[in-house]
Amino acid sequence: MAKEVGRISGDSGLSGSVRDFLDYIRDKPRVRLGLVIGPPLVVLIGFFILPLVSIGFLSFSPPQQTNILPGGRFTLQNYVRAFTQTVYLDVLWRTTVITIQTTAIVVAIGYTMAYSIVRFSRRTSLLLLLVILPFWTNYIIRMYAWINILQKGGVLSSIMEIVGIVQGEVGYLYTWQAVLIGFVYVWLPLATLPFYATLANMDEDLIEAAKDLGAGPIKTFLTVTLPRTKGGLIAGTILVAIPTFGSFITPRLLGGTNVIMIGVVIENQFGGAFNWPFGAALSMIVSVLVVALLVGGVRSGGNLYGMGGD
């Protein structure tokens, strides 16, 4: 009898010990929870929290310090410099302006596009594929494509010359507009997808109900469609505004020295000027602004997890 029991339950080797382990954690929810969230927690701490903390310490260190470990002399001079020298406040202001402009244009185009895909087309999946298609090409390569288009004697210039709008070669590279075009182009899919998700999730009967109750198309849009898709709108706005604010590749490639954004300045502090503590201070300022934006967005009804679908 005892022999039989042994044969049934006592599988030897690896599978046996795995089963023992599973038996052990069966009624230990805390251990199981730890096993599930442990690994991502380690990654998050190692690659996000620790670098952020170290940047924080660095921002309170005197210039020229490159030791990212805490323990150096404490100083506020980096922050004083950032908030007192008009050049940096200027850059922050211009970064804010271009972020707002980018976000407004992307939201307007993206929402219209998503609305058209949901309401007026049957080829939904094909159109969505076209929307995300640019993502399959590297960001830098897409920026170089725009350089090719916008530069003096580039594609745009040639077309305009052939059509007869301008005479001779013209160039739009290294202008505010070039950076704006680059941003809109890059972020458009990012905003269109959450807009699409919330619009597609919306109960179409609500639109019919509004019309049935005497609301014309514009009133229906303002009183039903817009409030019902507010969550997705805010999610899309956040998804565009945050990376734009911290961006440095697009302004560097398309704006050159004419459009300086805060990301370019920070990159320069670490790369060219070798003033890591000052770059760290600027980074902390940007982080605080971005977190404030995020909190504001979520507070006003945005839902980043659900991409606005509710």
């Binding site: 109960d203 019919e208 109900a209 019309k211 049935d212 109750l213 005497g214 014309g216 019902r228």
Partner: protein, 372 residues
Amino acid sequence: MSILELHDVTKTFGDLVAVEDASFEVSDGEFVSILGPSGSGKSTILRMIAGFETPTSGEIQIEGRNVVGVPPFERDVNMVFQSLALFPHLTVAENIAYGLKNRGVPKGEREDRIERMLEMVRLGGYGDRDPTELSGGEQQRVALARAVVNEPNIVLFDEPLASLDRKLRQHMQVELQRIQTETDITFLYVTHDQEVAMSVSDRMVLLNDGAIEQIGTAEELYKQPKSRFVADFIGDVNTVPGSVVARQNGQAIIELGDSRFPFDAGSIVDSGRDTLDVESVAVCVRPEGVRLSDTRGDSFALPGRVRNRIYRGDQVSYIVETDVGTLLANTTAAGFGVGDEVYTTWDQESTHVFASESEEAIEASGAGVGGA
């Protein structure tokens, strides 16, 4: 006075004919049901009246004015949607106010009317709630209030009660009738449920495959069905296949299995064809018209054996196996048992004979035998 008139309304979606030559009128203050199986085009008719679909041909008149081409927001009709379509981002009171605001009703009057409406649907004090926190029945009442508060010419219902359980549905039917009587607004109610249609409406429009089969009161449709479809759809019916084997003196001799019965030839319902040519017929009789007997009695009598006996309190249902098919009889005679050899008998008055509309064979079917 008729508030709504449909004249030869046809609606096609590509090759599919959803509604074909539908014509009917609804009087002011009437409660009319549009009844039919799913896919019969009843919702399409409703959506054309609301303005969400445009008829391919024909005319729809509301208060004598042709409304084809008029957008929904300019029509004086309101709809209660199957999904109810309450605005989740608005409170109950704001939902009900939506139509009034669009009509430019001033704030004071608006609040009065919402208050009165909430009382009428027995949701007094619910104005500030979110519709999402209400029960299914309460949401139905809000949807009803949102439509009725505008006092439109017609309130359209697209099977809003279908999702409720039976008890709540019956309760809401009574409520619907009460509110219709109180407000005297014309109600047009779409449903696939003949029980609902029979209990709430003054008249019914029965649809089959996009075409109107019959229009009339519940009693007319039940007692004088104009086609086998109507007899089948309204209430339970036993159908026995038969054939006309001879005619003399206005009488047709109908053969059911081995038995022959005379029947008034003029009473054979035939859609379009000359009754004299009719050979293949369907003999229909309601279960309550069938009696069980030890002897051949009435006009029709088929021998058979009792297969099932179901005691239902006020009556007993028997399922009887005969040579030509299974018949259901609902009678008060309780004295028969399973296995008894009996005659199922019924008289001419409770019999409907329909000429076979096509070459397809008529299949015998006992009313509700499957479900009994």
